[in-house]
Amino acid sequence: MSNKATGISDKPTGSGRASSSSIELRLPSRLGYEKVAMNTAASVARLMGFSDERVDDLKTAVAEACINAMEHGNKLDEALSVGVILSMDANSLEVKVTDNGDGPQSKTDAPDIDKKMMGEEEARGMGMFLIQALVDEAEWVSDPPEGSYARMVIHLDHPHV
């Protein structure tokens, strides 16, 4: 994997993207509903011509971002919704997943399976790592009091390895 933009920031970047079209969803903070966002993102990516492999990568990344937003951002408060904004242009698909939280609590480091097996690291906590590994650009932005968002981008012309 190379030429990937990743990061955690307290300043919005990448918003205001000039897109030719966009789709917005609002999901309840209820586990299972991430599949609505996952399948919508997959449909859009297929329409744009992404390969099955990239579509699968995006599905997992979007699902994990939504789960993080529901669990950690909105604390599974079903009165709070998770926003999903898909923005398409000729060569890329951007997905922003918004919540009401303060930003990511976990980390993007690769999981250490040996530490997990020894009980020195929680078995969970792989979502942000997977997001970063599966898309071309990933960032997490904390923007209080507005909330926070995860932003993911896949490029049509990017030879993802």
Binding site: Y33, G119, A123, M126, F129
Partner: protein
């Protein structure tokens, strides 16, 4: 859109000259809600079980919480000296399992026959 129920069926494959192979066949979703189905089923296996085969071929959706359950099961199996092989994962989830390092503790096979032969 509720999560699909996780179903686990257990089957024992006799092996003439070795320990039998216990197959756990998963279907539906494997997520954080699958703890009772996954770990409950595993913990219900007799301690005499030495070889466990995980069949993911009917799994429709697997997320990082579900992968964490698989890791929990591997931790418990490791403590009991049990060996785990797996098959039926899509190419995408083979990649994901490899990314998180699970392949160090379970071999991922193409099909049931090769997974059984791999013990």
């Amino acid at each position: 859109m509720p999560e699909l129920v996780t179903r686990v069926t257990v089957e024992e494959l006799p092996a003439p000259s070795a320990d039998p192979i216990t197959v756990m066949r998963f279907s539906g979703d494997i997520t954080s809600a699958s703890q009772p189905a996954v770990m409950g089923t595993y913990e219900g296996l007799p301690d005499s079980v030495k070889r466990i085969l995980l069949d993911f071929s009917k799994v429709e959706y697997l997320n990082s919480s579900g992968i964490a359950l698989v890791i929990q099961m591997m931790i418990a199996a490791s403590k009991k000296g049990q060996k785990i092989n797996s098959f039926g994962l899509s190419p995408h989830f083979k990649k994901v399992f490899t990314m998180v390092g699970i392949t160090k503790y379970t071999a991922l096979h193409e099909d049931e026959a090769s997974a059984c032969a791999g013990f």
